[in-house]
């Protein structure tokens, strides 16, 4: 059982490694979106540090979202999705490996890069740490929930925009708790409550999202 899971993970990571430009695109998107805000708002450090949590979280959310369409589209086009559906292992289990790979490729780099961008926004040091924690807890949820949207819109016309419409409203709790944690810490308050709620949302989606994604994939290949 683990053998298969690891194979799916390894295959997706290997593919991402052979197409490094895809990872770079996501990261570049994150950097450029978060750099646009100071240009639009003005360079005052006080203003920037107060909007930083929200801006960085929204940028991370969008960066995760634009990469969603790749999650199952290639597999569906070359037939490896069919093969995965016919594997003896439960589909939800294999899907969770794909989602994990997606997070490693698209989520983790953003988490690691975020504190650097945070420095540009004149964020205090403590808040930078909380930013990393909150993204670490929250970005897996983005991949998990996003996978449902990606599976539902598989092969549908205009799927890129549609996935945004489906998935963004579902991202709201993660955004609220994630950005809230960073903001609380920037105001010298404890971020613990936010982070626990964020973890709760992540756990819930960890349990439910692979099942929903598997069901959506079954519907999509019919």
């Amino acid at each position: 059982m683990n053998q298969t899971w690891l194979t799916v993970l390894r295959r997706d990571l290997l593919l991402a490694l052979r197409r490094r430009s895809d990872i770079a695109t996501t990261l570049f998107f994150f950097v450029i979106v978060s750099s646009l805000f100071p240009l639009g708002i003005g360079p005052e450090p006080a203003v920037l540090s107060s909007i930083a949590p929200g801006v960085l979280w929204v940028a991370a959310l969008l960066a995760g979202m634009i990469s969603l369409s790749r999650l199952f589209a290639a597999d569906s086009a070359d037939g490896s999705l069919e093969q995965m559906l016919l594997a003896p292992q439960p589909l939800a289990w294999l899907v969770s490996a794909k989602i994990f790979a997606h997070w490693l490729v698209c989520g983790l780099p953003v988490v690691l890069l975020a504190p650097l961008i945070g420095l540009q926004y004149a964020m205090p040091n403590d808040a930078l740490w909380v930013l990393v924690y909150s993204l670490l807890l929250g970005t897996p949820t983005l991949s998990l929930i996003g996978a449902i949207g990606a599976a539902l819109t598989l092969g549908v016309r205009g799927s890129g925009l549609l996935v945004a419409l489906l998935v963004l409203p579902l991202y709201i709790p993660t955004l609220i708790f994630g950005a809230g944690a960073v903001a609380a810490s920037a105001h010298g308050m404890s971020a613990e409550a936010h982070l626990s709620l964020l973890a709760a949302v992540s756990l819930l989606s960890l349990v439910l999202a692979p099942l929903a994604t598997a069901a959506a994939l079954r519907i999509s290949v019919e």
Binding site: I148, L152, T153, V156, R157, G158, S159, L162, L165, L166, L168, P169, L170, I172, P173, I176, F177, G180, A184, L197, V201, L204, L208, A212, A215, A216, I219, S220, E222
Partner: protein, 247 residues
């Protein structure tokens, strides 16, 4: 019992049945609406703080209730459609969505029309309005997904799954928005109904909500009839129906 259900779940038997039910629901809606409007405008007293502007709640609150209620009912039909593979259930879910979206939009617009004279701004980011806005997004997502999938069977099933995912998320979203709202003191205007509300005010709201409910049922039945006609346009029963209509 079992057979009965299958009988009415086939479109050609449900279509005339729904046709017979629609006028009744419309009559009930009109009657309830008439009484409701009378209570809301003639009997309910003027509010001490808000003056006459508060009378907007007689559409705003029922519309907000209906918007959430319809989403729940929609998810219920969707779940049944997925579990029993029943076409009619999926069609009902699809038929409810536009009406639910309309009530959501009405709740938003009337809420903002109520907010303007009370707080001097068209929009406040309070928990209720923000949740309604997100609910509108959920409705729009459902409708967009269904309309962009050509195969009706896949559209039904994908839409149903999305409605279920949405309904699991609605309480979480509502809770998170409330939490967010209490943390940000700057926008802590609470648009909730005043605690000491006269019984007649509550009665007016209930009557209007019932009227909206009956209306929603009637309109959903109308729409489900349209969907049946469109999907089964080549089947014999639609053919004979359209031939009858043209004579």
């Amino acid at each position: 019992m079992h057979m009965n259900w299958f009988k009415y779940s086939s479109p050609q038997t449900f279509y005339p049945l729904a046709g017979k039910m629609i006028p009744w629901f419309f009559w009930a809606a009109s009657l309830l609406c008439a009484v409701g409007l009378y209570v809301s405008f003639a009997i309910a007293p003027t509010d001490f703080q808000q003056g006459e502007a508060y009378r907007i709640i007689f559409v705003h609150v029922p519309a907000a209730w209906m918007s959430m209620f319809i989403y729940l009912v929609m998810a219920g039909w969707a779940a049944m459609g997925l579990a029993l593979n029943a076409r009619l259930s999926a069609m009902m879910a699809q038929a409810l969505a536009p009406t639910g979206a309309m009530f959501t939009l009405l709740a938003l617009v009337t809420g903002s029309l109520w907010g303007k004279p009370m707080w001097g701004t068209w929009w406040v980011w309070d928990a209720r309005l923000t949740s309604e806005l997100i609910l509108l997004f959920l409705y729009l997502g459902f409708m967009a997904l269904q309309s962009s999938i050509d195969d009706p069977r896949r559209a039904d099933r994908a839409g149903a799954l999305l409605a279920l995912v949405g309904v699991v998320n609605v309480p979480i979203i509502y809770f998170s928005v409330k939490w967010w709202n209490t943390l940000h003191q700057g926008s802590s205007i609470n648009m909730g109904v005043a605690p000491k509300m006269a019984a007649t005010m509550l009665l007016g709201m209930l009557l209007m909500a019932l009227a909206f409910w009956m209306y929603s049922v009637a309109v959903a039945l109308m729409r489900v009839r349209c969907i049946m006609l469109e999907r089964e346009r080549s089947s014999d029963w639609v053919q004979s129906l359209s031939a009858k209509g043209s004579k």
